[in-house]
Amino acid sequence: MKVLYYPGCSLKTVAESFERSAKLAMAALGVELVELERWNCCGTVSALTTDDLMHQLAPIRNLIRVQEAGEERLVTLCAMCYNTLKRADLWVAQHPEELAKINAFLDEEPDYRGKVRVLHLLELLRDELGFATVKERVVRPLTGLRVIPYYGCLLLRPREVGLDSAENPRILEDLIVALGAEPVDTPYKTQCCGSYHTTTHKEIVAKRAHAILSSAREHGGEVLISSCPLCSFNLDNRQRLVRELYDGFAPVPVLYFTELLGLALGLDPQAWISEQHYVDPRPLLEEHQLLKR
């Protein structure tokens, strides 16, 4: 199966391990992720004021690209891209007059007809392949590995965009179980990582990361999985600052969910793990004998 997918900027730079692991793991499951041609920035955050049409242009232009490719769905990896693209798509569906304006404004482009469905890779795994199938393909069950599923904001909120229940999501837990690992429940799994404050208010982000990660540790988690380059950065790289600010903090490795998937499918993590991880996950993987082939 071939699936059209949207990488977004961060996957091409600081989050290469996300894209690489995703492509390899999906290939092992028989799915080829085909990159959307001529994609542009997703828009990054949704326009939240009623009169802000300008910021709907970027996501809609991407959806026009999908339309041009003759496809009806687009798979995303980054939670932020997912949220922005899907929210823009729903918004124009609810505001046909505004879509007409956008189409008129983008006069160099064909009109967007509103037929594209934006999916997150997790939804593809759950709803199309099915976690049962994923489980069958697991060659190296991650037995004994205690994983903290971290959702953050953008996979779940607002409700109309969310791919699961906003209060008690299960999708990551179900994936973790399918991979043979053990999900660890923490009350912080749907709380914000601090987002773009990492540019100007690092200490706020460190505080968030500290709360989220210590709770994860307290509940017995060993590794946290995320689906967003920004969450990963805030929860992983900002641990340097967390250690400076909070005594006795024990670091927690952070992986993309696709890395965990790749491991369970028996792939060699050396193929994607890069120096971009601040807390090196290898010792933990070693401990669970997940690095040997």
Partner: protein, 796 residues
């Protein structure tokens, strides 16, 4: 009066002090009325409803030989009965009366005296046109016997059953559980007096079991109801108890039974056996076998432990698993109560996930001496003594966001439930820290504020500001995160036990019961009363009444009050021995009927059947007129709302300058009352509209609309109850489908579809009524200004 007699109409235009005359030139209206065909007398009067004017009308009827009377005054909802009675005093049939509503629909909603006067003239012209075609009807009498069905054996059902049985009526009390008592049986002590619930309930339950006039059917459910007041046929399915009345309640069987299952009566907090009793004082006194969980299967006896243990030989596995009973009753009382809100539906505050998060109903069982901990206040996770206890208010209540699980209304009881429980904790654990997190405390009721004050004096902390996060700590304690609103500070408080103060919501079974009995429910799911203020225990269906929490969340006192009211309403009907039925029924002109069966299929009340030709069961017919509007050959006449009468109103409304006028059809129950509400609230709206009242929006015959457009009306707006709220259950859905059909037809006739509208307005929505009318009038005005543009404007 014979049918052929020339109409002689008397018209009385009321000043209503300055209420009408301050805006409308009533003299001019009376003068204009004088010129209308058939009008013999036209007068204006200071207060039409005064005894003096009534006597004047009676006098005129007799002296001037009037045979129709029109009063132009307030809403018929106000004084129609007054004037009809006057007509009867004058020896005239009460159906020969018509009102023009020139107050609520005119002087109270328009400021421009000239326009208001013109409108009043139209309204009077319409009333006179209709009056000329009115006919006399005799109201039929139906016999009503003395048997009553009470559905639901909670405190409301019990109270109603006892009052009726004591007055000599035969009561069938049907309860779905094996024991009666409802939620009250689960409570420990009750607010506001803190008396023990079982102590006051048990004697009532025992009386029910003993009463010679009450047939108690437990483990039973109503499966079918047909007929009407005085003649309901009811089918009841009763599951076997497998324990006979020989049972002496010795309890010998219980210890030997090998099966233990979660005890629903104790909210699953403890276990019970397959043979059991909910409470020692339970009624009926006999034990019951829960056959779903008993090891014995049909025709297969594998366990005889209880059989052997039972010395009076009261256990009988030969009983048929189910039997069907048929009852004939005259009246029905619905008392099926309410369900406590289940927080796991919305996954609020970790209920169902964290052991030490419980609800107030769980808590009742925990502190009740008959509960799983024998009344000891222990927390579920480790059976330790909780020291820091929190209540969270409004769980599942006051949630107006439709995306969230929960109900928009305030449940009314849960503030008092928490205050009561906090005081009970204070008695048991004087040292405990008790905090109630709330938004507003609602303590309206006799003795409630006093109890709230007592709680404050007892050192119970009330913190304004609901938590939103609950974090579980390793020791099972819970941290609540929120904002103390009065301090404007955030809190993170640890508690050993968190009690969610859940509201009450409509029973899951409500929909089923609604369908069986053909009564209405309001949008919150509770059963709808006939009038929220003046008929609070009647339903719209004669002979069916409401009691207790089935109608809305209530405490015990209110449930009892309503039960007793329902009992006396039912008794009033049955004591009379007969009932007069308003003559608004359908009548089939059999010679025209082609037996197509459409009327039968659309009637919401099963009141019309094709048998050769179509025939109406008058006692069941509620007069909605849905059948008449559906009959393809026009064979059905609606008494007092005939096609001719309605068409006459349309024609009279459009007699002058039709292009400036919009006809608004309203149903009697919601949108007409909504228009009245706009009037009482003095909400101005566009004076171009002329209302025509139908009983139901489903009465709308397409020909009324076509006639209006044919005469050049600017527009036609149909209004009715909101979907799901139709007084006749489904009439408004008929209106909707007819509306859609008509839209197509109008389009093909070249009539701009914006000239025809449909809107739902409830009786309480005066503001919405005025908005809807204004938006429609605006749309018509714009259309007139630029007819070719035909803008699409939505009315909201």
């Amino acid at each position: 009066m014979s049918e052929r007699e020339e109409p002689r109409v008397g018209v009385y235009v009321c000043h209503c002090g300055t209420n009408i005359a301050g805006v409308v030139d009533v003299e001019e209206v009376a003068k204009a009325a004088q010129a209308l065909p058939g009008v013999v007398v036209a007068k204006h009067t200071m207060y039409a409803c005064s005894e003096a004017t009534q006597r004047e009308i009676i006098n005129d009827v007799q002296q001037e030989k009037l045979n129709r009377v029109v009063v132009a005054a307030c809403s018929p909802k106000m004084h129609e009965p007054t004037f009809r009675a006057a007509l009867e005093r004058a020896g005239l049939n009460k159906y020969l009366f018509e009102m023009a509503n020139i107050r609520e629909q005119d002087s109270w909603v328009h400021k421009d005296g000239h326009k208001a006067t013109e409108k009043a003239k139209d309204l009077v012209r319409m009333a006179v046109a209709r009056a000329r075609l009115l006919r006399a009807y005799e109201e039929r009498e139906l016999p009503v016997g003395e048997r009553v069905l009470v559905v639901g054996g909670g405190i409301a059902g019990i109270q109603a059953a006892l009052d009726l049985a004591d007055s000599g009526y035969k009561v069938f009390l049907v309860e779905k559980e094996p024991f009666i008592g409802g939620h009250m049986a689960q409570l420990d002590k009750t607010f506001p007096t803190l008396d023990c619930s079982t102590c006051i309930l048990a004697p009532k339950m025992a009386e029910v079991a003993r009463h010679k006039n009450i047939t108690l059917l437990t483990n039973a459910e109503v499966t079918e109801v047909t007929g009407f007041v005085g003649n309901f046929k009811v089918k009841v399915r009763q599951k076997a108890r497998f324990v006979t009345s020989e049972c002496t309640a010795c309890n010998e069987c219980v210890p030997v039974c090998p099966v233990a299952v979660p005890d629903e009566f104790n909210m699953g907090l403890g276990l019970r056996k397959a043979i059991y009793k909910s409470l020692p004082q339970a009624v009926p006194a006999e034990y019951a076998i829960d056959i779903e969980n008993c090891l014995n299967k049909p025709n297969l006896l594998v366990c005889e432990k209880c059989l052997e243990a039972c010395s009076p030989k009261a256990i009988d596995f030969e009983q048929p698993r189910e039997k069907e009973l048929e009852l004939a009753v005259d009246t029905v009382i619905i008392a099926i109560g309410a369900d406590p809100y289940d927080p796991s539906k919305g996954q609020d505050y970790g209920y169902g996930k964290y052991e030490n998060v419980i609800t107030t109903i769980d808590f009742e069982r925990i502190i009740a001496p008959t509960g799983p901990t024998n009344g000891k206040l222990l927390r579920p996770s480790d059976l330790g003594k909780p020291q820091r206890i929190a209540f969270i208010q409004c769980v599942g209540s006051r949630i107006a966001n439709p995306e969230l699980v929960g109900n928009p209304y305030c449940s009314g009881i849960c503030c008092m439930v928490s205050i009561k429980q906090a005081l009970l904790i204070r008695e048991k654990l004087p040292e405990a820290e008790i905090t109630i997190y709330y938004i507003d405390i609602r303590a309206k009721g006799k003795g409630f504020e006093e109890m709230y004050r007592r709680a404050r004096l007892a050192g119970i902390r009330f913190i304004k500001g609901l938590p939103a996060e609950v974090l579980e700590n390793d020791d099972g304690s819970l941290t609540l995160v929120g904002e103390n609103i009065l301090l404007g500070e955030l809190y993170e408080h640890r508690h050993d036990l968190v009690i969610l103060s859940v509201g009450l919501e409509a029973r899951k079974e409500s929909e089923k019961v609604q369908k069986l009995l053909g009564v209405a429910r309001s949008s919150d799911g509770f059963f709808a009363e006939k009038h929220p203020k003046l008929e609070p225990v009647d339903t719209a269906t004669t002979g069916i009444f409401l009691a207790g929490a089935a109608e809305s969340p209530k405490d015990i006192r209110e449930s009892s009050t309503q039960a007793k009211a329902a009992a006396s309403r039912a008794a009033r009907l049955m004591k009379e021995g007969k009932i007069r039925i308003e003559a608004l029924t359908a009548e089939v002109r059999e010679e025209m009927c082609v037996a197509c069966g459409i009327c039968e299929s659309v009637c919401p009340f099963n009141a019309i059947h094709v048998d050769g030709t179509s025939k109406v069961t008058e006692a069941a017919c509620q007069g909605c007129g849905v059948c008449a509007a559906s009959c393809p050959v026009g064979a059905i006449t609606m008494h007092n709302f005939t096609d001719e009468q309605i068409l006459a109103q349309v024609e009279a409304a459009l007699a002058e300058r039709p292009e400036e006028k919009a006809i608004v059809f309203t149903c009697n129950w919601c949108s007409y009352a909504g228009a009245d509400m706009a009037g009482t609230s003095r909400l101005e709206y566009d004076p171009s509209v002329r209302l025509i009242r139908l009983m139901c929006s489903g009465r709308l015959n397409p020909k009324f609309v076509l006639r209006a457009f044919e005469l050049g009306a600017a527009g036609v707006l149909v209004t009715g109850c909101h979907p799901g709220e139709c007084h006749y259950q489904s009439g408004n859905y008929r209106a909707l489908s007819r509306f859609q059909l008509l839209q197509g037809l109008l389009r093909s006739l070249g009539i701009a579809e914006e000239r025809f509208g449909l809107e739902w307005v409830s009786a309480a929505e005066g503001e919405r009524f005025s908005q809807v009318v204004n938006a429609f009038a605006d749309r018509l005005r714009r259309l007139r200004a630029a007819p070719e543009e035909q803008e699409m404007v939505e009315v909201h």
